[in-house]
Symmetry: C2
Subunit: 218 residues, 2 copies
């Protein structure tokens, strides 16, 4: 008989242990943290810019940006008022993991911040499998992606604590049935808090940033 | 001294060998094959539907749909006129690989087809690393994803043989600078054949389907 070696399981447990360490570190500094996940182009960076424009005068915000290449996102976060902005270039990896976040935390004095926003790599699959240690996982969906995405990417929709539905200003130009989308979401993640927003018109963004601010311990 | 064991390299070479077998099999049947890759929601399935509506009376088309869950895409391809439509559920995997395509080819009598369209899992990162054995790799970009995607996902943009830019009907409602986008594409993949299209208005789709049809050996 051959023995099956559970390599994937071990890697995930190692990641989970490190995620717990990250969480303890963030927690003990009194920082509230979110992990923003989305498809490429759903608007993670735009949401962060809009969030900073609403919160940067009230809260001290650090942003950690995960990307395969470039520092475009960290540059945008810094320009939008993040008091610290750190770029993680994953070197081709399709997701952030707890080790990468640990590396970024090593560059931050967490005691100087209230809110930590982690922008994951644009990907609706792999990031769902790697806990980072943040308090809340947030999925940013986008109306032009289509209303069938909960059905097709159940792992991501199932695992998040909040859902932002971006680009609602485009609804008049799309065949996006909000009922069908929401039925899919509800089946996977009943009662998940949902924020329909538009970064172009500003609609809905106050509700989203209020939710973030209410989660910050003062 | 410890020895570094190149596991990833070996997995990729095994995949490449199998991709070559798939290619030989497709080639000897006289079939032209494409691997469609894109972000979730860029419009792969809609492009396939539009392609079938233009080609299904001229060419015998088989569609292989890769998805994490559901058979929604294969159902849509069948409804749109594909003469064979096979769903690969990857069981959570974020890309297709040559083994999965081999499994699908085992279900097809290739001698009965002219064109094989493979729809990869929606993901701008991982599918770029796994050759399937198809003749051409095609990236479907989408204007609402934003004009910075070539800069942020260089691996995908660099490796494709053709680029479809979908949802150009939305350009009036977006901050998408086509010049900036195209400069990024050109830097990574000079002269790559590009088809700006809209599945809503039909614009540009004839040029795309003509390119496919011209590649089919008759």
């Amino acid at each position: 008989m051959t023995q099956r070696i559970p390599i994937v399981e071990n890697i995930l447990s190692a990641n989970d242990r490190l995620a717990e360490e990250n969480r303890a570190r963030i927690e003990s500094a009194g920082v509230f943290s979110v992990n923003l996940m989305a498809s490429p182009g759903a608007g993670k960076t735009s949401i962060i810019e809009q969030t900073l424009s609403r919160l940067a005068d009230k809260l001290r915000v650090a942003v950690v940006d995960g990307d395969i290449a470039t520092s475009l996102d960290a540059d945008r976060a810094a320009a939008a008022g993040a008091q610290a902005s750190i770029q993680i270039n994953t070197g081709g990896e399709c997701h952030l993991d707890a080790v990468m976040l640990q590396g970024a935390l090593n560059q931050l004095d967490l005691s100087k911040f209230d809110l930590l926003i982690v922008e994951n790599v644009g990907n609706l699959v792999c990031p769902a499998d790697f806990r980072l240690g943040t308090h809340k996982s947030v999925l940013i969906a986008s109306t032009p992606e289509g209303d069938d995405k909960p059905y097709k990417y159940p792992g991501m929709y199932r695992g998040v604590d909040a859902l932002v539905v971006n680009k609602i200003d485009l609804l008049p130009y799309l065949d996006f049935k909000m009922d069908y989308f929401q039925r899919g979401v509800e089946a996977l993640n009943p009662g998940v808090v949902t924020f329909p927003v538009s970064c172009r018109t500003g609609e809905g963004l106050d509700a989203w940033t209020n939710w973030l601010a209410q989660n910050v311990k003062r």
